[in-house]
């Protein structure tokens, strides 16, 4: 009996405080918004640019990774003021960014696509499940003319951002590669970044 009464004394006020806290948190900030990445629209057609006509490869339009539920629009990205690769801006959490100063996916060399792993508050972004990919998984790029290119995962690697093999990620030639990048590890508030980066290396398998 004593235990039951003690339980009531302790848990009832705590439950009230919890309910009040939950109610208070909801309307204050949009940062607690939790939404899974939404599928993107189907690939859009387009006229290849003069540059793509020369190389025979058009700019990438969509990235599809069935194994982890990714179907994302691709937007070109450049570099930031600090020299780091930029991230998507049109739809930061659901789009992926292709480094447009490098090769197009399907051209010789290392093309690179990045995407956010999470949103402010910690909910999922487009590359939330990138770490679930395994060697042999398929990564598909649909270019602006509708041509589909299939790449196969060859390796996953985690790097500290200051120690990453940048030449390997951006500058490997002698093959047709597509490297996917997102963040990993723990958040460092003082640096406003995570401790690690995940790079998924893939190699062109087929084009049709």
């Amino acid at each position: 009996m004593y235990l039951r009464r003690a339980g009531v004394r302790v848990w009832f006020p705590l439950a009230c405080i919890l309910v009040l806290s939950l109610c208070a948190c909801g309307p204050v900030s949009s940062s607690t918004y939790k939404a899974e990445p939404q599928p993107s629209p189907s690939p859009a057609g387009g006229v290849p640019s003069p540059a793509s006509q020369l190389s025979g490869v058009a700019t990438p339009a969509h990235l599809i990774i069935s194994a982890i539920g990714v179907n994302a629009s691709v937007e070109p990205v450049g570099i930031q003021a600090n020299g780091d690769l930029a991230t998507p801006t049109q739809n930061p959490w659901e789009n992926v960014g292709w480094y447009s100063a490098g090769p197009r996916p399907g051209e010789d060399g290392s093309s690179v696509i990045d995407g956010h792993v999470d949103r402010p508050g910690g909910s999922a972004a487009v590359f939330w499940r990138l770490d679930e990919l395994r060697v042999g998984d398929t990564v598909v790029i649909v270019d602006s003319t509708g041509i589909t290119r299939q790449f196969n995962v060859t390796r996953l690697a985690y790097y500290h951002p200051q120690d990453a093999p940048l030449q390997e990620i951006f500058g490997t030639s002698g093959g047709t590669y597509l490297n996917l990048i997102t963040c990993a590890g723990e958040w460092i508030p003082s640096q406003h970044q995570t401790t690690l980066r995940l790079v998924v290396y893939t190699t062109l398998e087929t084009a049709r």
């Binding site: 009531v8 006020p13 309307p27 570099i79 930031q80 956010h116 990453a164 093999p165 980066r197």
Partner: protein
Amino acid sequence: MKFHRAFVLFVSQVFLGLAVASMLVSVALFTVWSHHASAESPSFVRVIHASPDIGTADVFVDGALLLSSFQFGAVTGYAAVPPGPHKVQIALVSKGINSAVLTQTLQVAPGAVYTVAATGTQSTNLALKVYVDNNRLAPNTSRLRIYQLSPDAGNLNVTTPQKSLITGIPYEIASNYLTVSPGDYHFTVTSPTSNASRSIDATLDANKITSLFAVGLVAGNPQFAVVSAQVDGVPGLPNTGSDPNPSVSPDNEQPFLPWTYGMLGMMAVLCMGGWGYLRQKAKKQS
């Protein structure tokens, strides 16, 4: 009662043990995975032929022919090679590996980027000099590095018509990287001790890395010359994470609506009332 306490203690200890074990397993797995990844990264090596006493040559790496008919002053692109020690041999073209005039073992690290220069003369010793490169791009600017590989030129100065870029680069030394504005340049490389100079026109593109190699002999053949090579700079890795506990900024703050205050007040009153009722009931029962 004793049994209840013992049971709670047992369950809490089991959970504590599981938590510690899972943390240890996670750390171990991550360490193995991370180490495995870095060990697989190749090294990147380019080669320049800057030895005046070696004619057109064949270059062998670990016994296999890597470059054939490699001419004086030629610069290769960066090639990926497995990290670790590599035996490099240079032989006059078509003479075969057994006639190598230069044999040297080079150690290359995973992920690192190198320029390897065949330098020297028979009298000053033929050698392979290794330079660690950094091809990180500087946004909207161009980076420039000068390699002094001319055996008899002494310390070199590099100028443009507008200004002096760098002075006193000793033999077999590479300068620091200079950051310059993109554009067309007329570079002059001068040897003050030999009173010799050579000029070269080069277009330095944004986000690219340009190398100027001083090669050849001031007093002899092949003659003193400047060779340029340009490669794409590489960006740093992007920041694709987000703050899991962002502070509320004025941009994303949503104001309390009047009904929110009312609802919270009602809930607080209900909670306090319920708590008081239950407390009174408990007192009566005791």
